[in-house]
């Protein structure tokens, strides 16, 4: 369990994180989303013990991070926002070095390095210098570096930023495979990424945590109605009347052979339309809408 209790971080006079309180259960995947400069990276750095909080407490597995930094840091694997690696060493050497620093036993280190390189698809590059790696390869190497000591908590800061769609997808798939047994904290400004991967999401803006809940709860509490596009065999007067008479249903758009309807529940709609439905699409806004509602602007 990770607990942030009233944590603030000031840079000079600038409050990068403002009285954040958040609890993360073991084994869950948490998304931290927010626009640029919201304080996501700051929150994550505090969690990894890289930054010291100006005030407040961070408790991980019952231990105060300020008081027991080395014990706690052993449990955390961290992929920084700018995963800069040393250029000169070979990929294998780099992993081995960090493995030893994280306390992986010397006799297990080689096996662990091979395993990880295999996992991120870099086994054939073990003896290549980091300087020869492409951006995507670097990111994968950086991820395996973060995982070298098989940490219980894994923290990714914008893992897919600036990567091509294919590599991004591979990385997302990789994170999905980790989900089963780890606590994952994923910081991103791609809303669909968070929606796809995370159990719970914290929306953060200007250093403040605006919301923290599951995707469904966030959607249902910020989006009162669902939107459906319904294709019909033909739009009969009778159907339109039925819909209008139900106060729970509202027609947004009336096409030649389809309707866009807002409603709290799909069941109502199904009862009225029954066999007439030829086509069905859920147009309910995504998490993105929640985000825009909360933050008040669309992030680029």
């Amino acid at each position: 369990m990770i607990e942030f209790l009233d944590v603030s971080k000031l840079f000079g006079d600038h409050k990068a994180l403002d009285n954040a309180t958040i609890r993360i259960e073991d084994g869950t995947t948490i998304g931290i989303v927010g626009p640029n400069g919201a304080g996501k990276t700051t929150l994550i750095r505090l969690l990894c013990g890289i930054l010291n909080p100006t005030s407040g407490k961070i408790i991980i597995d019952g231990l105060d991070l300020q008081k027991h930094p080395t014990e706690i840091k052993k449990k955390i694997g961290y992929l920084p926002e700018e995963p800069n690696l040393y250029e000169r060493p070979k990929a294998g050497e780099l992993l081995e070095y960090f493995g030893l620093l994280y306390g992986v036993p010397r006799n297990k280190i080689n096996q662990r390095v091979d395993e990880l390189l295999n996992l991120v698809g870099l086994s054939d590059r073990k003896d290549w210098r980091v300087s020869s790696f492409s951006k995507g390869m670097r990111q994968r190497l950086a991820i395996s570096r973060a995982l070298i000591h098989d940490p219980k908590i894994i923290v990714f800061d914008e893992p897919t930023m600036g990567l091509d769609p294919l590599t991004s997808r591979k990385i997302r798939e990789f994170i999905t495979t980790l989900k089963k047994e780890k606590t994952i904290i994923l910081c991103t400004h791609y809303m669909y990424e968070a929606e796809q991967l995370c159990d719970k999401i914290a929306i953060i803006d200007k250093g403040k945590i605006k919301a923290y809940d599951t995707v469904e709860n966030l959607k249902s509490s910020y989006i009162k109605e669902k939107t459906f596009k319904i294709g019909l065999k033909g739009i009969k007067k009778e159907i339109l009347d039925n819909i209008s008479s139900d106060e729970n249903l509202r027609i947004e758009e009336n096409g030649d052979n389809y309707l866009i309807i807002k409603t709290k529940s799909y069941e109502n709609l199904k009862n009225i339309l029954k066999e007439e439905i030829t086509y069905f699409e859920d147009l309910t806004p995504s998490l993105e809408e929640v985000f825009i509602k909360l933050v008040g602007k669309k992030d680029d």
Binding site: F11, G12, R45, C48, G49, I50, L51, N52, P69, T70, E71, I72, K73, K74, I76, Y78, P80, E82, N84, L85, Y86, R88, P89, Y97, F98, L100, L101, Y102, G103, R145
Partner: protein, 585 residues
């Protein structure tokens, strides 16, 4: 963990092309210097640099009327002399004709007399109309003096008389070198007086040789330093590189996330470079020792201390600087100052001001080279630098633990001072500002000492005015003492009288510690006076320190009077310094 990191850093460094190039370059420079340096030292031994006359081999023809003995052996080693072995009469004739520039007449049984510690005399004749005579005379004279000192030293050692008294060596009652000047010939007489000493077996040849050589070797040893400091200064920059490259390439974040105490990261970088320096020092010292360029490989000890001093400074710069650009300026300035400090003090050492110069570890290098070091001298030149280095290393780790030095915004030096002052508040009691000032007063003495030596030496280089130095010192001390009052003012709105009290507290702290240190030294030199000195100083200089900083305190509390009161404080201090000086003179 540190071991892992050190290994890693070393491997990185040795594989680094930049490092390889630097190392090769260094090797070339030093290899080049060795022969140059060899001929330089030779030239020194032959007096080529420090005599005004120019000229090389065999430039000075001289006549010697004597059998070959240990003295003539030494003289004939000097390549600037072209020696004619002749009778006294014949020699006088040649001297008059200007064929030789000096004539040396040595007593017949010179060797035997000297060996049995009896008096013997040597006469130098010169021709004042021959310009070469002057340099021949000074050359021969210095050899004779060296020979005489060596003989005396040998005598003293053999009789197990304690360390030679300086006055005894330089002014034995019967030794005076006269040059009575006639029209054509002038005579210098340098009797080597060793009367009334019973015969003893001796290693005397060696003694004489050593002392004679030491005269030139102090300068020679000085050059050894230049060669050996090269790797130190080059490697000092590498520590900055290790520290800053993590910031510039943003790789430090991975290190900060490691389950390691932060200071260990700093230590591992420090140790890596220290290892490289030790490796290089060992290499050069052994090489130079092997080639006979240095006499005692023990000089590696003070050089290591110098390296630690250098690295503790560059380490602090590396931790403090944001980037290379930032560090470049600080490093350049610091290196110049450090170079001046190290060389300044060792110049003082060579120039004879051994007591002042002793605190530089480089002076110990020279002393070891000359075989004249003592344990006390070693302690004096090692302990201050070492403790200063440890303080700096500690400071570096304190800063390194702060995340601001990696992520920014970087605190200014005054931020750091004020932060420290904030910790001394003791829950904001009414006396807190005075406690802060008092503690800063203690610290001010060390700040003052460092800056006083630094700028004192520089001022000495440019002016020789003692007034300038006294004014400088008064200013430095008042500035250091005022830091405490400024810090107190940061946390408390001091009224003028409170400012004055805070200033007085700072002055008190300063004076107390200064007196303890001063008394400690007096206790060493004049134990009988120590208590009296302590009491006198406590009342006199103590009250001056309290008064002057009290005045400045008023200025700090009432900002609009800051400048006049500050100047007044410095003036009081300066006038006191002057009075003390007058008293001494």
């Amino acid at each position: 963990m540190i071991k892992q990191m050190v290994k890693w850093e070393l491997r990185r460094l040795f594989k680094n092309r930049k490092f390889k190039i630097a190392f090769t370059l260094q090797l070339l420079v030093i290899l080049l210097i060795i022969p140059l340096f060899g001929s330089y030292v030779k030239a020194l031994e032959e007096g080529g640099f420090f005599n005004l006359s120019v000229g090389g081999k065999g430039y000075l023809p001289i006549g010697i009327s004597s059998e070959k003995n240990s003295l003539t052996n030494i003289i004939s080693e000097n390549k600037r002399f072209d020696i004619l072995w002749i009778e006294e009469k014949e020699g006088m004739e040649l001297l008059r004709n200007g064929r030789i520039s000096a004539l040396l007449v040595i007593e017949k049984d010179f060797e035997e007399k000297i060996r049995s510690y009896r008096s013997s005399s040597v006469q130098i004749y010169i021709n004042t109309q021959n310009p070469k005579s002057v340099s021949a005379y000074s050359e021969l004279n210095s050899i004779l003096l060296g020979f005489r000192d060596g003989a005396i030293e040998a005598r003293i050692r053999d009789l197990s008389i304690a360390t030679p008294n300086i006055e005894l060596i330089f002014q034995p009652p019967t030794t005076n070198i006269e040059s009575s000047q006639n029209q054509n010939t002038a005579q210098g007489q340098g009797p080597v007086n060793t009367t009334n000493i019973p015969e003893r077996p001796s290693n005397f040849q060696e003694q004489i040789e050593r002392t004679r050589a030491s005269f030139e070797d102090e300068r020679g040893g000085y050059i050894v330093l230049l060669v050996l400091l090269l790797p130190l200064f080059l490697s000092g920059g590498m520590l900055i590189d290790l520290l800053i490259s993590e910031k510039e390439r943003r790789t430090g974040e991975m290190l900060l996330a490691l389950p390691i105490e932060r200071e260990k990261i700093f230590y591992s970088k420090f140790i890596s470079i220290m290892t490289i320096i030790l490796f290089q020092l060992l290499f050069w010292v052994l090489a130079l020792y092997f080639f006979g360029r240095i006499a005692n490989p023990l000089i590696i000890l003070p050089l290591t201390i110098t390296a630690i001093l250098l690295l503790s400074i560059t380490g602090l710069i590396g931790v403090y600087s944001k980037n290379y650009k930032d560090s470049a300026l600080i490093v350049t300035v610091t290196f110049i100052l450090l170079f001046l400090l190290l060389f300044g003090t060792s110049t003082l050492y060579v120039a004879g001001l051994k007591e002042v110069a002793a605190i530089s570890p480089l002076s110990l290098v020279i002393a070891i080279e000359n075989g004249t070091y003592s344990l006390k001298e070693a302690a004096i030149s090692i302990l201050p630098s070492l403790s200063f280095s440890l303080v700096l290393i500690y400071l570096s780790t304190v800063l390194y633990r702060k995340d601001e030095f990696y992520f920014g915004p970087r605190p200014t030096i005054s931020d750091l001072i004020f932060e420290f002052a904030g910790k001394l508040q003791f829950n904001r009691k009414i006396f807190s500002p005075y406690i802060i000032s008092l503690i800063f007063g203690f610290i001010a003495i060390f700040i003052s000492i460092v800056f006083e030596i630094f700028f004192g030496i520089i001022t000495l280089y440019f002016t020789e005015s003692i007034f300038a130095i006294l004014l400088l010192w008064a200013t430095i001390e008042e500035f250091s003492k005022s830091i405490g009052v400024f810090s107190a003012k940061k946390y408390y709105p001091l009224k003028w009288h409170e400012g004055m009290l805070a200033g007085m507290a700072s002055g008190l702290g300063f004076a107390l510690l200064e007196n303890i240190i001063f008394t400690f030294f007096t206790l060493n030199i004049f134990p009988d006076y120590a208590v009296r000195v302590f009491i006198m100083r406590t009342f006199l200089s103590g009250s001056i320190h309290i008064l002057s900083t009290g005045v400045i305190g008023i200025g700090i509390a009432e900002r609009k009077y800051l400048v006049p009161f500050f100047l007044l404080g410095i003036l009081i201090h300066f006038v006191y310094n002057l009075t003390v000086l007058q008293g001494v003179l």
